[in-house]
Amino acid sequence: MRQEKRKSDIIISSVIKVCGYSSILFVGLILIFLLREGLPALKDVAFSTLFSVRWYPIEGYFGILPLILGTLLVTISATLIALPFGIGTALYMSEVAPRWIKEVLKPVVEILAGIPSVVLGFIGILVLVPFFRKFLDLPTGLTAFTGAILLGLISIPTIVSVAEDALNNVPPAYRQAGLALGATRWQTIWGVTLPAAKTGVLTAVMLGIGRSLGETMAVMMVTGNAPVLPTQIYALFRPVRTMTATIASEMGEVATGSQHYQVLFLIGILLFVFSLVINIVASAVSTRQRKRSERVLS
């Protein structure tokens, strides 16, 4: 009987091990299937077509540049909008707020993280879009800027929670040293705490960028989806189209295996690579930071 028990132990342990490896398998599978469906595009569609400025699939124009730039425009604006609010809230929560306010704020930020993006997109359409059209006197309220505001809202919880963690990980001794030297708490925040948490805050920003970059529904619903190359600054207040929105709005209507289908998967590959790079860099930065602070403290 004892022997039997050991055998079941070994079986369970092996099952758990296999499950542990599964993440690698899934990343591999995702990559394989994206490549399988998307790589033929490079063979079938001319390079000059792919990197042109015209996206009009019905007539065979597959220029992905406007989509990439559209994503870039919306993501960067969203990050600029989210940054002061995200970092400011994180600073307030970790450095200023009394405990009970913190206990209230945390769930509120979590609620924001939990609101489905389609709900934010809906509110965007019904409230933000008409508001901007009237207020900014635009031909349409479906603009890159509208999308950027929603994306900013969506990426704030990520920025707040990661940045707050980073700030909380700054040893109290650092702050005490700052205060002991006669600095005010405000000066200590800027002179000591924030610089000490620099890489963690940077990670927060990068993960926020990753969050905006990959967001689909909210952007698709409020940015107007016009595949125009945004070149001027006023492009921010014109309709624009992102990579994610293109996939989401067109994949339902293409024939499996067609050029259009392949190019949409190719865009998927690009998104996969972008998020891969952002996440690997962000995690590399944060682990290096952790190792260094562990050495300092031990």
Binding site: M1, R2, K5, R6
Partner: protein, 251 residues
């Protein structure tokens, strides 16, 4: 009779702290063998070799020979779970498992596959009686093991080792977190228990070492400096470093 026979034991952790160097000694059954010396001298590591609890730690290198009843327990093919049932251990802080008092004491037997309620009941009662705890807890066996005092918790920890009817009981500074009354309870308990068990004790100060030792081993920075009967050790230590430590010149 020799319970353990240890030859040239070397242990090194992966952070390159050499934790035991060339330790050789023998441990008698039905006696209290005391391991003492300043912190970090290798006592805990030594204890954790004897029941292979070191398997959980980051050990980089372990060489030498440790015979338990004549069997080499460093053999990788050894059934360590069986070994740990024969060699029980009590730790420096009382760590009740997050279970009831009853389940804490019955834990080892249940994990060994014992399902008979009657056998478990008997074992729990007998272990609690040996640990002189039965009268204090018999009416609340199902309440949490965290609901009793620290001294009682530590005797629960002893009782759950006794319930397995081991051959050896190892105690790593078992009274360091306890008040003097609880400490003397545990000490007198150990003196009784040595009739039945082999006891290896790492006491938390020299006085306790002197009180309890049938045999004593002085560990310093990973080396076994001196090993003799308790009387010899504390009345006429041979090594200069042992003398200095016992008389309180360092440590």
């Amino acid at each position: 009779m020799k319970k353990f026979s240890i030859q040239d034991l070397n242990v090194r952790y992966s952070d390159d702290n050499e934790s035991l160097r060339k330790v050789s000694m023998e441990i008698d059954s039905n006696a209290i063998t005391v391991l003492f010396g300043p912190a970090g001298g290798g006592k805990s590591t030594f204890l954790r070799v004897l029941n292979r609890l070191n398997d959980l730690a980051d050990v980089k290198e372990m060489t030498g020979q440790v015979l338990f009843n004549g069997i080499d327990i460093l053999d990788p093919k050894l059934d360590v779970i069986d070994l740990r049932r024969k060699i029980g251990m009590v730790f420096s802080r009382p760590v009740p498992l997050p279970l009831s008092i009853y389940e804490n004491v019955a834990y080892g037997l249940m994990m060994a596959g014992e399902r008979s309620k009657k056998k478990l009941d008997n074992a729990v009662e007998s272990a609690l009686r040996q640990a002189v705890l039965w009268d204090e807890v018999y009416d609340r066996l199902t309440s949490s093991a965290y609901a009793i005092s620290g001294g009682q918790q530590q005797r629960i920890c002893l009782a759950r080792v006794l319930a397995l009817e081991p051959e050896v009981i190892m105690l790593d500074e078992p009274t360091s977190a306890l008040d003097p009354v609880s400490t003397s309870k545990i000490e007198s308990l150990l003196t009784e228990l040595k009739e039945k068990y082999t006891i290896i004790l790492a006491p938390h100060n020299v006085q306790q070492a002197a009180r309890m030792a049938d045999y004593a081993a002085f560990f310093l920075m990973g080396e076994l400096i001196e090993f003799s009967s308790g009387k010899d050790m504390f009345l006429k230590p041979i090594d200069k470093r042992t003398q200095d430590y016992i008389t309180g010149r360092f440590g």
